[in-house]
Amino acid sequence: MAGAGVREFKRRIRSVANTQQITKAMKMVAAARLRRAQEKAEASRPYNETLQGTVARLSAVALDVKHPLLEKRDEIKKIGYIVVTADRGLCGAYNTNIIKMANQSMEDIGGAAKKTVIAVGRKASDFYKKRGLLAADFINLGDNISYVDARAVAQYVIEAYETKELDEVFLVYAKFINVLRQAPTLTKVFPLEPPEESEGSAPHFIDYIYEPSAEAILVSLLPRYVGSLIYNSMLEGKASEFGAKMTAMGNATENAGELIGSLNLAMNKARQAAITDEILDIVGGAEALKK
């Protein structure tokens, strides 16, 4: 039968075109959300930078400050990983790359120390739940990360570290470089290492008055510093997620276009073959009548 092959092709082309429309829309949505996420990251910069600068300056002044969050443990029995991923997939290798980096680090360090995971985002939560490593998870936070979400995570790890539930804590997330590149990053959270004073920042020979004292202020700022570290990583993670999604959906749209092209070609070939067959039939029939 002639038309059947062609109809089958038409059906498939229509279905691919529908998918293409969806991926195209998802790409545009991701682009809009990426812009919002970047604006949020931008808005948090003054807070983060001032806090970091002050913590750095204070720890340069208050040398002999003792705080449970700064204390290094001799024996590391349990290591915690805060793994920041997305709640959803369809963003290329974004989630996989982060989880891969966390797993690599778990193999590389700590030897026999027990590793547990504090998952931020459903993908990490699902992955580590299956492997029995999940200690806590923070999921369904939505696309609009608020500082309150980050503080909840910070409170959990601070408590876990202070009660010696964990002896070391790492943070794994994807740093946003640009739409095409997101770099999975691993940083140490606990024991807390105060940031170094960066070159060219406010010189510390300025004689500040510390009220009540440099040590006391530093101690009160450390938990906030942890909060801002985690908030920052979650914002970077969101921007990275949407960057990765844009790229993935852009590729999907392109692939769908290519597929439609080759299906069209195949369909036309099938149509021509069917016509040729019919002509041959007619010619053959006419020849037969002549005899």
Binding site: K40, A43, S44, P46, Y47, N48, T50, L51, T54, L58, S146, Y147, A150, R151, E159, A202, I206, D207, Y208, I209, Y210, E211, P212, A214, A216, I217, S220, L221, R224, G227, S228, Y231
Partner: protein
């Protein structure tokens, strides 16, 4: 612009709440209230949960509820960093009062431990917001 003014910035992780030229600033320092005028010496002070008050060049007084943090004054710029901050005018008084009642109820149950601490902090925050609104 009057020449006795200086900059006040209130910065939270989510945005810069305000950035204004002001005449006089009172912050809830952890050891008591601190007043800041123009040409104050460089200072870093930790803040407790409370109400920050400032006087605008036109003599009107504004209030902001802050949830602790710290303030840094240098070169006539006072920068207040707080995890949350809210203009007195935009405080939802009903919600703040509900939060106060919730915290009071929880405190009345007298369970020791972290939840108790949290309820205390929540109560202080609610009171600060109510005060800022009045």
């Amino acid at each position: 612009m009057a020449d006795n003014t200086f900059m006040l910035e209130v910065v939270t992780p989510e945005d810069i709440l305000l950035k204004e030229e002001i005449q006089f600033l009172v912050v809830p320092g952890s050891e008591g209230e601190l007043g800041i005028l123009k040409n104050h010496a460089p200072i870093v002070a930790s803040l407790k949960i409370g109400v920050l008050k400032y006087k605008m060049p036109d003599e009107t007084v504004q209030k902001v509820a802050v949830s602790g943090g710290f303030m840094e004054v240098i070169d006539n710029v006072a920068r207040v960093l707080a995890e949350t901050a809210e203009h007195g005018a935009s405080v939802d008084v009903l919600r703040a009062k509900a939060a106060r009642e919730r915290a009071e109820k929880r405190l009345a149950q007298r369970v020791e431990g972290i939840n108790n601490e949290r309820a205390k902090l929540a109560l202080q925050r609610a009171i600060a917001r109510i005060k800022a609104a009045s």
